[in-house]
Symmetry: none
Subunit: 194 residues, 4 copies
DNA sequence: GATGAATGAGGCTTCATTCAT
DNA sequence: TATGAATGAAGCCTCATTCAT
């Protein structure tokens, strides 16, 4: 019983990972069930054993990816370092996601064009959860005198927004490495909150 | 002769405006030619009198909107004010677009999922043209000692990226007016370049 | 009254000539009313002043072309020369049509895929009229001892069929001139009837 | 594994056969995917499981039909009989195709109005392959003194052209049987090459 | 669990035709 | 006469979804 359950979940994960990649290369509309299946050497029909429909698959992609990102944020917040240090790490982490796993975060950008009403609520909730960790650190930083910002939420929007934009223009093998980018963004964005 | 040409262009504009609205509510995929036509009380087929195909229509939407925005930027840059003043105005303008005509800028975000190769070139060119006006002011500001930024292009990316994100969350009738937002963003983003 | 009538007919001729060219380059389906009109620097709509609909235009193309060809055949038959001489001239003429005005005869090949029932009758009648001139000469030739053929109709089918096929493969600027072809075909095809 | 592959091919054959019939009754334009499907009690969409698009289906129709005809020619050529005998059999065979499976050869007539560039090459190649078997026998006949013709290729064009024309006029249940026709054509056409 | 096959709704596009001006 | 504009039917094609085996 347990074993088969575990196997099922494992397979699901596998599908989700593969789907995420494809979805973000081609967009949620451009990626067809056929292609997603093909990448896994399955056939279209089989996907429906694991997921109710395409939207369900996309939804679970979203949940998985963002869930993981959240747990990473959580980790940084719990470290015993200054809020600035935390924020720097969180920024670096977000940028890494944006570039190395650019595929993943993409789907967050315009969920309302991808998901129907039923799915939209939990999606937005997860998104807020993610943002909340940034808010927490920024607020703490203000309280503890590290930051001076009066509108912490808007500051957070600026941080996330500017970073989400990176994938629009960044190309690996350009003149900047990821580390360069992480450093520059951290510096510039901290100027916003300080 | 001239008259009919003018009429034609006018109708095209009308269609473009309507299409822009729909495309940005539903995405370029979600908006069908049928719906775009219906909104104008036309039939599908009539659209093809004015535009070669859907991609052509979308392309012209893009050109029109961004072209107009560029001409506004140009205006600010030519005023006789400090670079900071210019940048503030450009930021305010971009934010206004992002909110009041949110529909328009939306289509800029992921052109490569909307457009085929032939159209991508001119689209990216226009986008760069728009960005170049920001670069110009930032660079000038650095030269004249108003700004201190070492990576002006990345700074510009941060500005635009953060502002483009606004439409993801901003709702009219919330607790912030557009003017509030313009002021806050200008203040925070200028901290980046200063 | 007369004058306007003449003008009308002239214009019709003009349209037919142009249509014939296009139809045979692109096929009766491939040639659109738009293109036919464009070639004449007209607009689609105007064509409907002169012709009831596309089929009507195509029909009149057919009538014109075949009518002209028939009158030429008639001319040869009335000359005072041997039946073999007549047949040679008729063959040469048909080949010239097939190549130089290949466009024209094309439409004869599969009329039932182009025309609806109403038009089919007169079309086939005209076709038979054309063929009848060949039959006449062949029969006369048999009567007068020039030819020996027992199945004059089938012989005629062979003649016309083989010549109609020319357009499938003949290319101007190849190694054979039209005159070469006319000579060779005349020689070979006369072997059939002799 | 093998079995499903075989089944697939079988179904493809079935579709091709049905398509050939329809295409030649209505022309490649007149025959719609919908009708082709309906004839097989399928739906439009299903056809696309077997064929990439309409052109692909038409192409495979062409390949199948001509391929079969070629293999038959090949058979006659390899028999140990005089070249005249061979040619007679090949003529009879072609005529049989032209009448009994008139549907099949029809599509060969104007491939350039049916197929786009990519498909045209292999189509013409196949056509030439078919013709080459006629050329071979005719040339051999000339070498061995059976035929006297100086332009064997043009002779072949005359043979094929005249036979392809048969379908334009021949009606079963007329006063000539197929066997009549085969005999008459063989006699008359051999006069050409002799 | 998996798959091959089928389906059908829906989208894009073409084009003959119409008609007011 | 001519045209600009609109229409709508019809065709091609895609793809999420279903289901018997």
């Amino acid at each position: 019983m347990k074993l088969s359950e575990i196997k099922l979940q494992k397979k699901k994960q596998e599908i989700i990972l593969s789907a995420v990649k494809l979805v973000n290369k081609k967009g949620s509309h451009g990626a067809t069930m056929e292609e997603i299946a093909a990448e896994l050497l399955m056939t279209k029909g089989s996907l429906y054993y694991y997921f109710k429909n395409k939207e369900d698959l996309l939804f679970q992609c979203h949940e998985m990816v963002l869930g993981q990102a959240i747990s990473e944020l959580q980790h940084y917040v719990n470290e015993v370092i200054s809020n600035e240090q935390k924020l720097r790490k969180m920024i670096a982490n977000h940028i890494r996601y944006m570039i190395e796993e650019k595929e993943t975060f993409n789907m967050i950008i315009k969920p309302d064009q991808t998901f129907s009403k039923d799915y939209l609520q939990p999606i937005l909730r997860k998104r807020n959860e993610y943002a909340a960790w940034f808010d927490k650190v920024i607020k703490k930083g203000v309280e503890e005198g590290e930051f001076t910002i009066k509108e912490p939420k808007i500051a957070r929007m600026i941080l996330l927004g500017s970073m989400n934009w990176i994938q629009q223009w960044y190309k690996l093998n350009g003149d900047k490495t990821i580390e360069d980018l992480q450093a520059i963004y951290a510096d510039y964005l901290l100027k916003v909150v300080k």
